[in-house]
Amino acid sequence: MLDSQSVPVYTAEMVTPESRDTGIPGNWAIWVGILAEMTEFALMFFVYFIARAHHPEAFHQGPAKLWTLAGIVNTLVMLTSSFLVASAIHAIRADRARTALTWLVLALVTALGYPIMKVLEFRWNLAEGLDGGGDVFQLAYYYLTFNHLVHVIWGLLGMVWVMTRLATGAYSATNHRGLVAFASYWHATDLIWLMIFPLFYVLP
């Protein structure tokens, strides 16, 4: 017969979200979104490659039409903001919430450069006569990059949300699953841009 002293007692402090290793960075909800995002872009990449196989000349000449510097700057912006978000996760794991918030503020300031640069790039394109009514390269370029921009804007809204949560003490070393969920989405969006960048700005 068990006496009360041999039965382990678990308190709320001992069983925290981070102590249960589910094998899911963040939570299931965000991964449904991330896998849907990856599926959507995988389909668009297939369309890109089929179009490229059918119209090789349009795609060979395509990168020379675009403002390469804008593509490079946006790649550096995405990579750097991703690094800053990863640094925020590193800080919150050490229970340094204020440091984590500082990293996130830097990530937000950096990431805001992406939509600003995109607006400048689209204006440059239009001045050069590159609109959505051009050849198949231009169509693919606008479809993929505009779609990615929408995902970045969702990510920016998510970043503001987790910053607010962090500033109000919602996350700690033992409970930061929501912050990891946001970080996973942001890194996935960064990963997709790393795939888009060479297709339009580098590969002739």
Binding site: F45, I50, P63, G71, L76, F83, L191, P198
Partner: protein, 98 residues
């Protein structure tokens, strides 16, 4: 395993270097299978670094880990396939024959 802060910094520096190197190649090198292979390799390498170091996918369950890793290789593999077998892929994906 969770990456250390120096590992994160190193990853970021390498990603920046690879981005600038890849862009420089696209500007200067002449088109061909060699350039396509190099661009595909750089793309796969950068994708792999983001997946492993930032997304920390090695700690995730296999049902997430493998699809994400496959996604990171999708574009580089297709770059090479379309370069090598473009006309055949165009024929396979045509709605009309001849």
């Amino acid at each position: 395993m969770k990456p250390s802060f120096p590992a994160l910094v190193l990853t970021w520096i390498l990603l920046v270097i690879l981005t600038l190197a890849g862009a420089g190649l696209g500007e200067g090198a002449s088109p061909g299978v060699g350039l396509t292979l190099i661009v595909a390799f750089i793309t796969a390498l950068k994708g792999g670094m983001v997946i492993e170091e930032f997304l920390e996918i090695s700690g995730a369950r296999p049902g997430l880990r493998y699809p994400v890793r496959v996604f990171g290789l999708l574009v580089p593999v297709c770059m090479v396939l379309v370069h090598l077998y473009g006309p055949q892929i165009a024929r396979l994906t045509s709605l009309t024959s001849g």
